[in-house]
Structures are given as structure tokens and as C-alpha cells.
Amino acid sequence: MYAKVYGETTCGINGEQIIVEVDISNGLPSFDIVGLPDTSVKESRERVRAALKNSGLIFPMTRITVNLAPADLKKDGSGLDLPIAVGILVSSGVLQQEQVDDTIFVGELALDGTIRQIAGVLPMILHARDIGRKNIVIPAGNCAEGRLVDGIDVLIPASLLELVEHLRGEKVLDVLDKEAICAAATSVYDVDFAEVRGQQVVKRALEIAAAGGHNILMVGSPGSGKTMLARRLPTILPPLTEAEALEVTKIYSIAGLLQRQERVMLERPFRSPHHTISSSALIGGGSVPRPGEVTLSHHGVLFLDEFPEFSRTALEVLRQPLEDGYVTISRVQASLTFPANFIMCTAQNPCPCGYLGDRKRECSCKQFEIERYHRKLSGPLLDRIDLQVYVPRLEYADLQSREAGESSAVIRERVIKARQLQLLRLQGTNLYCNAQMGRRELNKHCQMEAAAEKLLAKFFTALGLSARSHDRIIKVARTIADLDGSDIITAAHLAEAVQLRTSLNS
């Protein structure tokens, strides 16, 4: 008997439908899975056998051949246990083919027949919906992801037996309720910008970075508060839009990081990898490529503390994702493209000893040491950082001042307003913020007043700016204008953008 059941696997950050064909024929008992299964799929033979037996169902003692189509796609993960088990039940006559035709099955089987949660369910559901399936069966442990997707009925049976009873119409399972992705208006942080004394310039730069999605570099002597400031960046980021939240959740679903949090990603991710990180951990890697830190910080912040301490290769691989907003990782098994649109926030000391340019302490570094320290950050990398600010040492008076700074909520309010302007402007382009604009959007949305144009021309030649920094300065100026609520970029906006980019050079 032949049966055809649909399953799903993931390929990059997208779902992919797998047709599971099961054939049962007479002969000595055997159970073969063909169609490029990897080890975890091959092992599903033992799980399926035991799960069927322990559910009180019959595992046919005949020749079973399972084919996973398309045959050229490498299948991994344990999510194919369930469609294989259902396929066997159909071909051995326990279920009828038409009972499973409209449904996609996803889940790992435990030996006792319960259905275990797996990674990457959200992209699978999205894909199932997009190809027009009516139902999808997912593990109960993944129900948070199941609630997110409209337009498809999601079922969460606890066990294989429950599923069989449902498919036979003996006991009907409830369809999972949908839940709207609500903005994280309630997100609570244990830090706040109000706690930071002084540092007005840096706060302003961080506000601009958050508002337009620009990269930022903070340079300062030890203890001046670089890390403290960076940690507060997430508190002023705008909430994820629905489309963004879905995308971020998809990535975390595939990385298997959702299971621990058991919820949808409602806040922008903030990743701060240690500086010993390898280049493949940063951009993604592995024989079947997995997302790296740049992808995990998609639509969020990648914070690199002690920037020059990162290995040279790790830093240089950042160049391409910073420019393109995605990474393509090619390995023997697969070549995958992951999104990587993030705000890069970096912090470093001005020199190895940390006190170069400090008002109170003498720098003890030799000239060549300083040069070597700076050489670690290549020109092309620094060229991609829009906002470069110095974090000065605090004076005693600043520290003692009772005057509370602006709270994160107030700053966030302004950031959200600026982002809304951008979203409106970039509607229908798949772009979410100023930093993502390309040449076309730049020409269309960045009108400058005559004085600003003149000023830019002057700066361009005087400071020897690159074509890239030219574009990037305009984008930052656009963000500053947005914060200002201005349609047109004025000379003041542009001057601030140039100043924030080049203040470190002098």
C-alpha cells in the first residue's frame, strides 16, 4: 500500500515542504528511509517504531520504504518523525489517505508516542500557509509559534494516539486560537537612561542611532561609561513592527532559542558576544549553516565591546553584512542566505592603556603601540560606522548632580515618532529605517536645502570623504531631520551628521 503525507523542514530561515511517501510491501521486515536524510532523520526509524508500538498501534512487520521528496534537498531535524509515522498508519490501513490530504505534520516522537517540540516551527507554519495548506499539526510545545500565523488551522495533539483519533473523526481536537502580535509596550528594563549622568553628546548620538538604525562607535577612557550607555540602547529602541517581529521570531525559532524563552520575540534583540568570538560564530557557519550573531541581532543591536580586541578576521567578515543587510554562507552541504540588518554598536578605548586624550591622566602608550591598536580597525570597517563619538571622563560635579537626565521612555517617544515618519516614507519597499535606504530611496527622500548642499560639498572635499560616507552622512542627516520633524534636511541637520561622523578624526 502506498501513502503520501506532507511534512515540513527548514532551509535557511524558510520552511520547505517535504513529501513523505510510504510504501508497504510483502517481504522480510525492513524499514528504509531514502531521499537524503541526515542522521537525525534516519534515527527516526527507531522512534517511529517504538512510538507506534507504545501507542497501541500496529507497526507492520513487512517491508517499509519511506521516500522523502524532493530528493535533492538535504533533510535534517527530527520534525519528520510525525509525517513518517502517519504515513505508515495510512499505508497500513489504520488511516485513510483522504484523512491526511490537506494537512501538514510536524513533530518529533517520543518513544511513548507523545509529540515533542522542535526548532523552526514558525517558518514551517508560514510556508505551509503560503502554499495554501489548510491545516498543520505541530507539537504542543510550539503552540506559542502556532498562535502567530493567521490563515491556517493549527492543531496541537499531545500524542500520536490523540492525533489518530482526531484524524479518524473519533475525537475532535480544538483549533489553536490566534493571538495578535502586540507591540512590546509593556517591556520592562532594569536600566534606564535617567541613571546616566552627563554624556549629553553620546546620548544624542545613541538616540540618533536608535531612530535611524545607524551604526555607532564609542571611544573613551576606562570607566567613562561606554558599556553602561550601550546597555541602555535597547531601552530606547522602537518596538518591533509586526513584520519585523515575525522575521526575528523566525530566526530565533530556527536557532532553537525560542524554546528556552517560550514566547514570541517582541523586543528587539540585543546581542553582545565576547571578543574571543570566531568569525563563523559571528556571521554563521557549520556544515549545514546556522545563523550567527549578526543574524541573531537582525532588527536589533549587535554590541561589540572592546572592539579592537576582536580578531581581525572576525571584524573583517562584518563588512559585507553591514553593507548589504544579509549574509550568504556557503558550505559543502548547503549555501544559505540569512538576513542581518542590525545596528552595530561598538565601544573601545582610544589606546591600549586607555588614557589617550584624557584630561586628567597621562597616556603611557608608545606611538607605535597606539598605531598598532588603531590598525586593527581597518578603514573600510570604520567607513561603515556613521556615528563616532568620544565618551569623555566625567567630572565630580556631573557625578554628584541631583538633576536626573531624560528617562528612556521620553527618548523612546521621540525615537518612535521618527521611526513612524520613516516607515510611512518607506512604505512598500520592505525597508524599515533610514540606514537601510539605497541610492534610489536616497534620491527620492533626502531633499536638502541649498545651504545644506553647499555645506556637504565643502565638507566632502575638505575632509576627503568617500562616496560611501557621503551617502551615509545624508542618511544620518535624514534621521536627525526626522527627529526634528522636518521634511527637508537643513544645514544644521547636515552639520550635526558630519560632526558626529568625523569628530574623532581631529
Binding site: N26, G27, L28, P29, M61
Partner: protein, 118 residues
């Protein structure tokens, strides 16, 4: 091997032969032995030569009888069959490797023929 078990095997093979003959097979050899192994029954029907392994069991404590025909056993039967064909000078022959399992429970025996097994 105890005598009782040998007797059971013999009885099973007799029953299998009777079954095959009823189905129109002609028994060519029984218990064919060579240095490569042993074949329980060699039977012919319609130009096809079948090499039959008979497995008899009294209970299911160790699984179905057919599960006892392991890969190693299959290979043994294969090489013995090849040797037989060479001896008999029968080349270009249609072949079939079958298993007949017999389950004896009390006075009832159930026979199951699995043609073209391996």
C-alpha cells in the same frame, strides 16, 4: 540442538513442502547442503526456481519467525544457491528467494509464505 527442536523444524519443512506442492510447485531438492550453507527447500514453478527458507516457531517470545532470517543468513542462502546453480549447470535462471514462516500454537499451525524476499 535438542531433538525436540529438530523434530519441530522437520515437521515445519514437511508442512511447507506440502503447501508448495499444493500451490503447484515441483520440489527439486530438500535440505540441500554444500560447503557454503544449507537450503531448506528448492522448488520450481513456471520456469522460476525458488530457494525457500523455512522458519518454525512455537511462540512469539522472540518475535516473528521471519525476523530470524537475518542478513547473514540471507547471504549464506544466496551463496549456497549460486553454488547449486553452478553444480546443476543452470544459468540464466529466473530466481526467487522465499521465506515460509510457520507458527505452531497448540494444535493450530499458521503458515505464511513470503515470496521474493531478498
Amino acid at each position: 540442538m535438542t531433538e525436540a527442536r529438530q523434530r519441530l523444524g522437520k515437521k515445519g519443512e514437511d508442512a511447507a513442502c506440502a503447501y508448495l506442492e499444493r500451490k503447484g510447485y515441483v520440489i527439486c531438492r530438500r535440505n540441500y547442503r554444500c560447503r557454503y550453507g544449507e537450503i531448506d527447500i528448492i522448488a520450481a514453478k513456471g520456469g522460476e526456481l525458488s530457494f525457500v527458507e523455512v522458519k518454525t516457531r512455537r511462540n512469539l517470545n522472540f518475535g516473528l519467525p521471519r525476523l530470524a532470517v537475518t542478513y547473514a543468513k540471507q547471504q549464506k542462502i544466496r551463496s549456497a544457491a549460486l553454488f547449486y546453480l553452478q553444480q546443476e549447470n543452470r544459468h540464466q535462471q529466473m530466481l526467487s528467494f522465499d521465506v515460509i514462516e510457520i507458527l505452531v500454537e497448540g494444535n493450530v499451525a499458521r503458515l505464511h509464505h513470503l515470496p521474493h524476499c531478498f
